[in-house]
Symmetry: C2
Subunit: 355 residues, 2 copies
């Protein structure tokens, strides 16, 4: 079992170090190899996703990823910016299925913006298609408008698109995930406006015929953004495209109030995967030793489950995280009165001890 | 002053009747003429936006719009569905600037999903571009994929696009609105992925040079969806494209907990406008006399302000709405213990009395 470890920028290095610590404590046989990615790779090699890093990721069974990005790279040309590394990894590894659980931990209900009764016990799974849609559609660029409101003016454009097999495979992933949960899928579209998402709706409806035991609901994206606020617990599995999934999965994570706790997995069709926390590189707190490593540690658990076929080890990690929460240990982002404030490394050590 | 009154479907007829009642009580000279739109127009004339309705709207100074749509039209071909009426009106009247205030009324703080301290006193203004973006971009449709992950497969596609003058005019609207408020504009984009929104960001930055007294912040749409949940009061004016604005303005309205209270205005460059509540046609409660008419009544106030140059009358209506809330009158959607439950017509009558 080979793991590519890509810590990246900002707090990435600190939180990945803790996840590696936890993995090493498991007494499983992994080969782990690290490489630079994002801004760190740009500074060392002039590119956010150097050939060598990409090859390492391709050759691995799984990638443990920290976070990339910093304001200081904002002025770079787009192909050199840190985020391009993550887009490049998704595309080159074919990681089309992104799993973003939004879970509200019992002990952290108070951290949510929402009233406790609306959020306590929340456990929804957002499945975002990750290699299609307007993220990668061609053509895109700048040109002179030939029609529209201002023909002759300078304009920029992008292409949204989905093909039938792309929608089919993500729909299967969603229905299969729902089967192991509460058997309800909400497919989010904008079929009332977009051709792409009328097609999405049609194809998801077709695939659903193979899953009569799972309930399928269609919802417009604007309504979904509202219902997540109004009654998040009414959802089970949410499946949607790359662009809408980007927005809704972030909204859903923030609803829980503890985005520092939320892992994510991005898989391809051979279960090779990239695992990363749902939060970003947080340059403002980087290097201070206060970042919450739990989202990354829980991402490592997902990695064991989905790509390395080590369910027991995954559960050991998840139980250990529950235990440190129950012990009252909290990094500053989830701290509240009456709990014990700890730093990044202390939190990692506590998880290792609780294993 | 000529007002086209388009009640539409579902609760549309009930809530517009109350707004008309309030307008008539003002003793101003309007000419009001009604027409069918949406499903109602489809049933009578075979089209959701008949020529006659469109001509009436074009000839008016302002359109007072209720709501359109019902599940029963879901199976119609897209060009015949009720929502096409609203898209057609926006396009034909050139209503590019959509104003969606998200206000949390002091008396209704409890109706929000959010903790009171996060939402009390909220007063933000979302300005959504309404005639461009992927809503109207050409080409769009279905075809055989020539590249992408599955060349040869059936695919659907749409075109996102913005031209410089389209972005400039909405940016001016936003900066000018911010000048009358707290002088802060948040421009929401996805410049890290989309050519269209890198251009958006560049053009908004250019226009900002003319408004040195207004603070400009750029934010990615995924982050905006999070920050609205985390700290909605940190925003003042939010400006964004048609698609992102659709999602974020609905999210923001729902945060207030009282979407039945929120008006909207859609204006063109000659201040001709369409005014409608932020909520939909609610077919589930149509005909029961329990819908909240206040969003529509407040939309009529916006109409007086923006299109009919009657600021004093607008303020009279807004003060009357405050008064009925202070009296404790509530339709079921905003009812809470200790207040007085009233129906649609009673609420309209109370506003008239309070004028
Ligand atoms: C960094 C950015 C390109 C990326 C995306 O939009 O997918 C991020 O927001 C995410 O969700 O992983
Ligand atoms: C009905 C639909 C076409 C419309 C839109 O997407 O613009 C609606 O959601 C709105 O926001 O007015």
């Amino acid at each position: 079992m080979k793991i590519a470890v890509l810590p990246g920028d900002g707090i990435g290095t600190e939180i990945v170090a803790e996840a590696v610590k936890v993995l090493k404590a498991l007494d499983l046989k992994f080969e782990m190899e690290s490489a630079l990615v994002g801004g760190a790779a740009y500074e060392a090699h002039g590119h956010p996703l150097p050939e060598s890093t990409l090859n390492l990721a391709k050759a691995a069974d799984a990638v443990l990823f920290g976070a990339v990005g910093d304001w200081k790279y904002d002025k770079l040309d787009r192909p050199l910016r840190p985020e391009q590394a993550i887009l490049g990894l998704r595309k080159n590894l074919g990681l089309f299925a992104n799993f973003r659980p939004a879970i509200c931990y019992e002990q952290l209900v108070g951290a949510s913006s929402l009233k406790p009764e609306l959020i306590a016990g929340l456990d929804i799974l957002i499945i975002r298609e990750l290699t299609g849609d307007i993220y990668f559609g061609q053509p895109r660029g700048r040109r002179t408008a030939v029609d529209g409101h201002f023909p002759g003016a300078e304009e920029a454009f992008d292409t949204m698109r989905y093909s039938r097999p792309e929608i089919e495979r993500i729909a299967h992933v969603a229905f299969q995930a729902a089967r192991k949960r509460n058997k309800k899928v909400t497919s989010v579209d904008k079929a009332n406006v977009l051709e792409t998402f009328q097609f999405w709706k049609d194809v998801v409806t077709d695939v659903h015929k193979e899953y009569p035991d799972v309930e399928l609901q269609h919802m417009y994206v604007d309504n979904a953004a509202m219902q997540l606020v109004k009654a998040p617990k009414a959802f089970d599995v949410v499946v949607t495209g790359n662009m809408f999934g980007d927005i809704l999965s972030d909204e859903a994570s923030m609803l829980t109030g503890s985005i520092g706790m939320l892992p994510s997995a991005s898989l391809n069709s051979s279960n090779q995967g990239l695992y990363e926390p749902s939060h970003g590189s947080a340059p403002d707190i980087a290097g201070k030793g206060i970042a919450n490593p739990l989202a990354t540690i829980l991402s490592a658990a997902m990695m064991l489950r989905f790509s390395l076929n080590q369910e027991a080890a995954a559960q050991r990690i998840e139980a250990a995280v529950q235990k440190v929460l129950a012990q009252g240990l909290r990094t500053p982002d989830i701290y509240s009165e009456g709990t014990t404030k700890v730093g990044t490394a202390q939190m990692g050590d506590a998880v290792v001890k609780a294993l």
